[in-house]
């Protein structure tokens, strides 16, 4: 997957969680939870969806890597390079 594909994937998962989510003003380098109506349970939904869609087992200690859209892409890029 390209970096853009990964970005789209994350946004698609967030949209599934909250179809009212508005990405227009989303700053990709800022924490997702500060900008969207997401809490820790929603965050775990993102982790679960990545597991379901791409068989990714993200260890708990790596969760902070998924804080912002940019950090998600950075973290997932090597893991999804063959996806």
């Amino acid at each position: 997957m390209t970096r853009d594909d990964i970005k789209d994937l994350i946004l698609e998962i967030i949209k599934d969680i909250d179809e009212d989510a508005d990405f227009d003003a989303l700053q990709s380098d800022q924490p997702l939870r500060d900008q969207l109506d997401l809490d820790s349970m929603d965050f775990l939904d993102i982790v679960m969806e990545l597991r379901k869609r791409h068989k990714l087992q993200i260890p708990e200690e790596d969760y902070p890597q998924l804080a912002s859209l940019d950090s998600c892409v950075n973290y997932l890029e090597p893991l999804l390079k063959n996806a």
Binding site: D18, E19, D37, D42, R51, K52, Q57
Partner: protein, 413 residues
């Protein structure tokens, strides 16, 4: 006579039934005998008649919260907000920490557990795919808890598990907590999401107690010779309960006063009902209300459309009401099915408007009355107009031998 502080009245009703999403529409459909029971297709199980509620699920909370929560929570949030609006109560009228939320449930967690097992079956039963939402969805206080989160209520909330007597039991809990001075207002009622569980249908079927009919609207037929079981429904009904003193002070519309109640146990069998204890329960509720059987205008029966259950209840009614020629008898399940934890409170709501229109809605689908169920003044297939209605006795019984009865009286100054 109790003081106005001890007298508890119903000042708001919010409901979702298989044929209506508000009391006015519900009354209209019940008087017209309009059933909207339909056939649904259940995972593993296949088709079955069932009562499904249609209401505005995002009127009071976001779709996101409905996805995260449970169907019971969704029904509960809708009904609770509707009840508050019906009572013309602003959430800040009472101290939020002095509002109690009591919700009766026949069961909870069955739907969510079945869904989750199905989910992991898609992943070779790898429990790494089991959702983190499972525990908050399946804790027994989930439905009342979702109500408190939505309304910002910080007083006590909990569920009352009393099988299909649970709706009445929660209403009783609300009355008791108000009388004890534990809360100043209660949201009390019952909820059922049971139509989401194939296991509930399969279990009734295995027991020979699940209704079948070519026309699903005719599947639930209490007292009829052709009855063959229960129609499972989802639903919800939440009441606003207040002390009479406060209701008068704020000039609230008063639907009725809860003057009598009783809960007792058969102490006998897991599933079979017992007329003797049901009769005792009705008599005890009458005693508490200071009423005689002849004072009751309407009995809303619990009868679910099972062979023995209907007969037992009719035997119990005969024992208590044998000498009550002016008591009329109906059954709401024939129209809406068995809404389980919501049944007692939904059925009471369906009858409450009789205090205004003096009508008794009918038991429908009775083409051949079972002689063992025959009682005087059964209202069958079409409504009956009475001169006046001032008392309703509401029966609600459940598995493992639990009986509950509530008596509501029309409020008059």
């Amino acid at each position: 006579m109790d003081s106005n502080q001890q007298r508890i009245v119903i000042t708001g009703v919010g409901l979702a039934a298989p044929n209506a999403d508000n009391l006015k529409e519900f009354r209209k459909k019940l008087l017209a005998g309009i059933s909207e029971i339909k056939e649904i297709d259940l995972r593993y199980f296949g088709p079955a008649p069932a009562g499904i509620c249609t209401f505005d699920e995002t009127k009071y909370r976001k779709k996101k919260d409905n996805k995260r929560g449970t169907r019971a929570g969704c029904l509960g949030v809708y009904c609770a907000h509707e009840a508050m609006a019906d009572a013309t109560l602003d959430i800040n009228y009472y101290d939020r920490s002095r509002i109690g939320v009591y919700v009766g449930l026949t069961e909870h967690g069955t739907v969510e557990t079945e869904n989750e097992i199905f989910n992991i079956s898609q992943y070779n039963y790898d429990v790494n795919y089991w959702t983190h939402h499972h525990n908050p969805r399946t804790v027994l206080n989930n439905p009342p808890g979702e109500i408190t989160m939505s309304l910002g209520i910080t007083g006590p909330h909990y569920a009352i598990g009393a099988a299909c007597a649970a709706g009445n039991a929660s209403l009783i809990q609300g009355v008791q907590m108000l009388r004890l001075g534990e809360v100043d207002m209660a949201l009390a009622g019952g909820i059922s999401e049971s139509t989401g569980s194939f296991g509930i249908f399969a279990s009734f079927k295995a027991q020979g107690a699940l209704a079948e009919a070519a026309d699903p609207r005719k599947a639930c037929r209490p007292f009829d010779m052709g009855r063959n079981g229960i129609v499972v429904s989802e639903g919800g009904c939440i009441y606003v309960l207040e002390r009479l003193e406060k209701a008068i002070e704020r000039e609230a519309r008063i639907y009725g006063e809860i003057v009598g109640y009783c809960i007792n146990s058969d102490a006998r069998d897991f599933v079979l009902p017992y007329d003797k204890r049901q009769a005792e329960c009705m008599q005890q509720a009458l005693n508490r209300a200071g009423l005689n059987a002849a004072d009751i205008d309407i009995i809303n029966t619990h009868a679910t459309g099972t062979r023995q259950g209907d007969i037992e209840e009719c035997k119990a009614i005969r024992q208590v009401f044998g000498e009550a020629p002016s008591t009329y008898i109906n059954n709401t399940k024939s129209i809406i099915g068995h809404a389980m934890g919501a049944a007692g409170v939904l059925e009471l709501a369906g009858n409450l408007s009789a205090f205004e229109d003096n009508m008794v809605h009918p038991t429908i689908n009775v083409t051949n009355l079972d002689p063992e169920c025959a009682l005087p003044n059964m209202v069958l297939n079409k409504p009956t107009q009475l001169k006046s209605v001032s008392t309703i006795l509401n029966n609600s019984f459940g598995m493992v031998g639990i009986n509950s009865v509530i008596i509501v009286k029309k409020y008059e100054d």
